[in-house]
């Protein structure tokens, strides 16, 4: 899991997913490999049907790949692995539709992952309240999801994914249901959380313009294949938590110039 002193937080090795269809097998993901260092923010973008969701479902262990393997923090994660529940607890997932429980308040929703882990109620409530503060939702803790705006629901969903202190946060289209202004503030919050907690983030999006400013790498997915920088371009990201990170000094066109990346090669010249 160590590579030049950098922790490889996510390693996807030769992942393929094939669906059976009336017209024969359909390959949703084809021999996908990807490595993400600790503390990196990586965006995966691509058109609908390119395999983005399938990729995330494999990572969050909601779907079993046809072949290949995924390692998170050096340990294999798989929907079929012996202790799938334990493996799942190392990854926080923020879903596209927020997926909050209607029957619970904002606080109750954030407490849920802790209750699932049998954390005592008072301790869970304290911790959940702290995470709601982190996403600037402390004043909405007793509101039900139907009383919250889209952006507020997204913040609650992020707090819920973070409350168990996962090493990796996976976000599925975190801005697609939001207006540009709200999306911008969510993106800023993600960056703050990445900096303060050093959490590795993998973001699937089709609105790359909104997310590019905070991403270390952008990877394209098309027809089930990845193009772009499949291995970290920044070797110093793991030391970043707490330190300042100024993406502004790198022209976006250079930083995310997928065309200049040789498949399989480490493109240090991009940094």
């Amino acid at each position: 899991m160590y590579h030049n002193g950098v922790i490889r937080m996510i390693e996807v090795q030769d992942l393929s997913v094939t669906y059976a269809s009336p017209l024969g097998p359909v390959e949703a993901l084809s021999h996908v490999s990807l490595t993400v260092s600790e503390g990196e923010i990586v965006a995966i973008c691509g058109p609908s049907g390119a395999g983005k969701t399938t990729f995330l479902r494999c990572l969050s262990m909601l779907q079993e790949p046809s072949s290949g393997r995924i390692l998170v923090d050096g340990e294999e994660v798989s929907a079929k692995s012996a202790d799938v529940r334990k493996a799942r607890q190392r990854i926080g997932v923020v879903f596209q539709g927020f997926n909050l429980l209607r029957s619970r308040t904002a606080l109750g929703n954030v407490m849920l992952p802790l209750e699932i882990r049998h954390v005592p109620k008072t301790e869970a409530a304290e911790k959940a309240a702290a995470y709601l503060e982190l996403v600037h939702m402390g004043h909405r803790r007793d509101f039900y999801p139907h009383e919250l705006s889209g952006g507020e629901k997204q913040r609650v969903a992020i707090a819920r994914a973070l409350v168990t202190e996962p090493r990796v946060l996976i976000l599925d289209e975190p801005t697609s249901a939001l207006d540009p202004e709200t999306a911008g503030s969510i993106v800023q919050s993600l960056r703050e959380i990445n900096r303060s907690k050093g959490i590795t983030m993998l973001i699937v999006t089709h609105q790359i313009d909104l997310l590019a400013p905070i991403c270390d790498r952008v990877i394209q997915i098309r027809h089930g294949r990845l193009t772009g920088a499949p291995v970290p371009v920044r070797e110093d990201v793991s030391s970043r938590p707490g330190t300042s990170f100024a993406p502004g000094h790198i022209p976006a066109s250079d930083k995310f110039g997928c065309a200049s990346v040789q498949p399989g090669g480490v493109s240090r010249d991009l940094v």
Binding site: V84, R85, I91, F95, N99, R102, S103, R104, I116, T164
Partner: protein, 224 residues
């Protein structure tokens, strides 16, 4: 004697009250039993269905058939058919207490189907979110399926209660007692339309009241 005059109430009041309480007892008793067992069966149906959290096609086919068969047996026949069970559980096969047994048995598959429908309405995404948090299927039932479908389950309980009022009147036919029994004995057999009318009015009020209470409680939990 004038219908519904004070003198009439002196004579018939106790009879009507007694029958009303018998009906309420039968309905509430079987509602509790039917809900407990029916919700459990409904949860089982949701869990073992194809694509469910504890998929088991064989068990699903069996439970599904049990529910369908249970729902297609006419209540009058069901009452007679399960008399041995009724006698085993209550020591008798006549009277309001005995009638609770067939009423409960009739309610179970109905409640199971309503529960299944209500729980299938819970968004798959919410269940997947909890799975991704590492929840067990028991935790999904406890934290997601039951609380998220609670408003629909309560509305279903009101529907069930109303159906049970209807069924309980049939129980009168085998000596179950209650308002149905009263209406049949006085109204149909003795042509005493006043008693039949009074029983009918109470039944209508009972159904209205149950539906009203059910709607209110359901609305209190519905958050959308």
């Amino acid at each position: 004697m004038t219908w519904f005059s004070p003198a009439w109430f002196d004579k018939m009041g106790m009879l009507l009250l007694r029958s009303t309480l018998e009906t309420l007892g039968m309905v509430l008793g079987s509602l509790v039993g039917g809900q407990v067992l029916g919700v459990a069966l409904g949860i089982a149906l949701v869990l073992v269905r194809p694509g469910g959290l504890k998929e088991n096609r064989t068990l699903h086919a069996v439970l599904n058939s049990v529910v369908n068969v249970g729902r297609s047996v006419p209540f009058v026949i069901l009452m007679v058919a399960i008399m041995p069970l009724t006698r085993l559980l209550t020591g008798t096969s006549i009277g309001p207490v005995a009638a609770i047994v067939p009423l409960t048995v009739a309610a179970i598959p109905f409640v199971a189907r309503l529960t299944e429908t209500a729980m299938l309405e819970v968004e798959v995404g919410v269940i997947e979110a909890c799975l991704s948090m590492g929840a067990t299927w028991q935790q999904i039932v406890r934290y997601v399926l039951v609380p998220e479908s609670l408003p629909s389950l309560i509305a279903g309980a009101a529907t069930t209660a109303v159906n049970l009022v209807g069924y309980s009147t049939m129980a009168g036919a085998i000596g179950g007692g209650g308002l149905g029994d009263l209406a049949v004995r006085y109204g149909y057999q003795r042509w005493q339309m006043d008693v039949m009318l009074a029983a009918l009015v109470i039944l209508v009020g009972m159904v209205q009241g149950m539906q009203f209470v059910g709607d209110r409680i359901s609305a209190r939990f519905r958050r959308r």
